[in-house]
């Protein structure tokens, strides 16, 4: 079926193709929101010239849930549980970032042991998220048994979550001013044993991802994002680290990362293959960081409550598995917030995605869309309208 679409594109499209103020007949290929390859619903309209992609129009808004408005109706302390439900895979980091924001507004000092605990649990979430993505990527390529195996090994992390606080996915151990539960001696031993078993299994996959010619053929040279344009387009996370630039919010040393000697992992390939290698190496780096933190953690209290209501505004950022997470909080001296704005990394990665797709062919679409690790449900709690 051919659709005729007239678009007004001012100043040239993002992809810098040759459409500028001209109307020409192209086929439109709608991709999503329901597609067997996509994990989450996003709608992309491709302008196709017989198998070659000419332009892309993204259209979001399928999973809009109104969380930002919900953050205003609620008490500022109950909001931790609401912001943790923005994303299922990286939920702890949302809660920790929100708590860090409120602590900044109310001048509360977090004890050092609580900072180490938050870093340990963030790294655990990163581990679990990258393993999930590796499995999905293998499945998109066509490698189904690898997908099943990685997800079976990921279950160890989920049962470790359950031993920490009782739920498999939502670790609700954040409180404003510290942590809610502690890791004592016996639990630290369980952590070390389980993670060492898991590490051996992940290390056994290293030759598969680094050297296998089948995987290399599918994703090497696909979805190139040049180094000169990556920052200008606003890429974050492994997308920009796969293009040779050293950008990671963990280098600012928030929580306990300043004491853990952290160095980001950078590859220079600029294509989907190097992004995959960045994520795989980060998985192995997460094991090292957790071991180091468990050894270095000092004794002490884990909670130091706040002593006044939030008043004023602030900006907090932290590093999710997919990139840079941004929170803007504003309070007015009562127990309800005025505004809570969340911008997730996938929202920032969509313009580079549009740029990466132009010039490639239709069968490459699943590989390239997967290589930015889309988590569309995070993206969708956009600004609201308060009508009286």
């Amino acid at each position: 079926m051919k659709h005729f679409v007239k678009l007004t594109v001012v100043g040239g499209a993002i992809g810098m193709s040759e459409i500028s103020n001209k109307t020409k007949k192209y086929s439109v290929l709608p991709f999503g929101p329901q597609h067997p390859v996509l994990p989450e619903p996003v709608h992309l309209k491709f302008l196709v010239d017989e198998e070659k992609i000419v332009d892309v129009l993204p259209n979001l808004g399928y999973v809009h849930r109104g969380i930002e408005r919900g953050c205003e109706l609620n008490d500022y302390k109950r909001n931790i549980y609401l912001t943790e439900r923005v994303c299922g895979i990286c939920n702890f980091i949302h809660g920790a970032t929100y708590s860090a924001g409120i602590e900044k507004i109310t001048d509360t000092e977090v004890p050092i042991r609580a900072k180490y605990l938050r870093s340990i649990w963030s790294e655990l979430q990163r581990l679990q998220s990258h393993l999930l993505w590796l499995g999905l990527f293998a499945d998109a390529i066509g490698f189904e048994s690898l997908f099943m195996q990685i997800w079976r090994d990921r279950e160890m992390v989920l049962s470790l979550n359950e031993k920490t606080n009782g739920h498999r996915i939502h670790l609700e151990t954040n409180l404003i001013g510290g942590a809610r539960k502690d890791i004592d001696e016996s639990l630290a031993k369980v952590y070390k044993e389980d993670l060492s078993v898991l590490r051996k299994k992940v290390e056994a996959l290293t030759p598969v991802f680094h050297k296998d010619p089948g995987i290399k053929q599918k994703c090497e040279g696909k979805g190139i994002l040049p180094k000169s344009k990556a920052r200008f387009l606003g890429a974050v996370g492994p997308v920009i680290r796969g293009s040779g630039l050293k950008e990671d919010i963990r280098m600012t040393g928030y929580e306990a990362y300043g004491q853990l000697d952290f160095e980001p992992i950078v590859y220079n390939g600029e294509d989907a293959y190097s992004r995959m290698l960045v994520r795989f190496d980060e998985t192995l780096q997460a094991f090292d960081l957790i071991d180091k933190a468990l050894k270095q953690m000092p004794e002490g209290p884990i909670l130091n409550k706040n002593t006044k209501f939030p008043e004023g505004s602030t900006v907090v950022r932290s590093e999710q598995p997919r990139g840079e997470l941004f929170y803007y909080l504003e309070g007015n001296g009562t127990n309800k917030l005025d505004r809570c704005k969340i911008r997730t990394p996938t929202a920032a990665n969509i313009p580079p995605l549009v740029n990466m797709l132009i010039g490639y062919e239709v069968p490459d679409i699943p590989t390239i869309v997967h290589s930015i690790d889309p988590c569309i449900s995070c993206t969708e709690r956009i600004v609201y309208l308060k009508e009286k």
Partner: protein, 111 residues
């Protein structure tokens, strides 16, 4: 692909990795956050649990000495248990199973 062959052969002869639920119940891990009940002989209707609940699933009636709880809105975050000073809320190990209707549980004090 040839590097995966060892794993594939090992998986052929080992038992399956999944549990045949609902015919076989999985072993509960101690410390799981499961279903809640109220012990009304200790409750003194202070409404602390109602103020703290993130999903507004508890409603207390102080004059009639009654507590209404909606388990399908509950997140099982256990903030109510942490904040109850009379230890009147009791957690358990078994997770809440599915049901045909979203019922509200009502707890009353015996006179």
């Amino acid at each position: 692909m040839p590097k995966m062959l060892k794993e594939v052969l090992k998986n052929l002869i080992s038992p399956p990795a999944t549990v045949n639920y609902p015919f076989v119940k999985p072993t509960p891990v101690p410390g799981t956050r499961g279903a809640l009940t109220w012990d009304m002989s200790k409750c003194d209707q202070c409404q602390d649990c109602e103020r703290v609940c993130p999903s507004v699933a508890i409603k207390v009636y102080p004059e009639e000495k009654k507590v209404e709880y909606q388990p399908f809105k509950c997140l099982f975050c256990y903030l109510c248990i942490d904040n109850c000073m009379q230890n009147a809320i009791v957690g358990s190990d078994n997770f809440k199973t599915a049901d045909y209707e979203k019922k509200t549980e009502v707890y009353e004090t015996k006179q």
